[in-house]
Symmetry: C2
Subunit: 343 residues, 2 copies
Amino acid sequence: MDVTAVGLHRVLEPAGVLPQAARRLDPDPRIRPDEVRVRVERLNLDAASYRQLHTAHGGDPGAIRDEVLAIISERGKMHNPVTGSGGMLVGVVDETGPRSPLGLKPGDRIATLVSLTLTPLAVDDGLARWDGRSEQIPTSGHAILFARSIAAVLPADLPVPLALSVMDVCGAPALTSRVVAGLDAPVVAVLGAAGKSGSLSLAAARRAGAARTIGLVPTEEEERRLAATGLADRVVRADARDPVAVATALGEPADVTVVCVDVPGCEHGAILATAPGGTVVFFSMATSFPAAALGAEGLAADVTMLVGNGYVPGHAELALDLIRGEPGVRALFTAREGRSSAE
Amino acid sequence: MDVTAVGLHRVLEPAGVLPQAARRLDPDPRIRPDEVRVRVERLNLDAASYRQLHTAHGGDPGAIRDEVLAIISERGKMHNPVTGSGGMLVGVVDETGPRSPLGLKPGDRIATLVSLTLTPLAVDDGLARWDGRSEQIPTSGHAILFARSIAAVLPADLPVPLALSVMDVCGAPALTSRVVAGLDAPVVAVLGAAGKSGSLSLAAARRAGAARTIGLVPTEEEERRLAATGLADRVVRADARDPVAVATALGEPADVTVVCVDVPGCEHGAILATAPGGTVVFFSMATSFPAAALGAEGLAADVTMLVGNGYVPGHAELALDLIRGEPGVRALFTAREGRSSAE
């Protein structure tokens, strides 16, 4: 067991846990031989984390900014203690240790594909350039990558914010693709289908051989926007937290149900919507383990339930291919970015 | 969508959620045509719930009893608000509606195989006969089963407390069996292997074709007891919350890792212990969804992670067969019951 590879030496407390489980990490800029230091340019909070902060502070951007800054300085990482989630970052490689296996060189502009919850991080500008109004935070500082971290060099043909948004959720289309490809032309339902991970998952499901794709969205506006992209064979509308409404709106049991809704309470609808013998893939960080486990039991639902693993080999490449090749996905991403900056 | 079948009409608040997600259920003893009323004899809290109550009240049995009573009277169900988990019950069928599909008749002694978190329940004896010292609660009152509930008639050849203990965790061996049988002679590691779900899962894994089984336990005493049963090819000792210790103790990557430890913080050890391409099955209700999802991502671990669904068709029969046919499993269960009552 190589403890340096997974970053154990950066854990300040409690001793012995992995960096993601730590209360505090050590963001010392001096690197070990297998580490990499990155000059941070931008943080991208995960959607569940930003939403929680936004709600907790009644949308006050100054208060949101202060809390993010406090979390980073107290924990040595951007790890929202309420949601347990983080996000990712973009930066430029500053120094690479001689034994780093990541294949990076100084000057590479990269995105980290491991969560901010386990990435040692320090910021030095007080987040002064961030208005607190969206999950993308322009900033400066440094972060540390371990030997077993994952980072991808940003593609030259896509705007940085777009590539970052795509890579942030690239585990979802990759795992959806793997699950769908392992079945015989399944019916695939995506809950939260007009969002980032949702639209990528829809596109991935179709490419992987879904017989039919159904996208479920909460509002008339999203319904219209998703329908316009043609990404789903059917677009339906319901509150994903209302199990009966979800099952009724879909109208047929799904063989694969992909949950991309970043609010709590969507487990039961997903289970109820899934055919016996089918699979539910939970990607939302707002998923409750007991709600899923006991919900399936309580409904006598013989469904396979997967924890959406953010890592599938080749996930970044697959997601970037989708954004390049599927104008519908790109349109939804671009619209979303536009709304975020305009808010 | 038949809303009566899943018990929606029993939800008092919030409106529209399934019974498991409800804050309060209506335990009105009058049944609908597809319901069944059961005269309750015994509740069996799930291990994570009892442990939380025990810790929260410093082991004070009177305080534990008072809190369980308060939960049941406030919520109309035994649903621990901290752990989100419940347990199961044993009772005698009192009245069956003419359209109940469960195949039960008045006088049948049954165990419910759906969680107490979704079972309308009222007790009428103030839990006076429970000493608060174990998770098995002798009591009286009534409970309601829905059309889509699951209940099993208790076998005549096994003591009631033993059958109840077995059926409480019967989802674990059933899903373990299914996962192992779908692979080619995998190496199977069980964390928390001397407990109820752990020992059943070990036995199920061997029957389903595991090449080797490894049982991980926390203490020397459990190591000795599990080794004596012969249920595991190897028995090793480590704190399941210490990822490096777990991986080191196992000594080889597992193709399937089954998590049956009912304390928080075991996600990372399980992921680190699992071979690339392998499967982790989480049965503990103390599992954190974000810790699992982000932990795998943070370790760049390409593992399939399953939410341990408490329902697999035939699960009760499979577990009862194991307790009948595997003296090692029965010995562990009996020793455990003995310790519980002697505590």
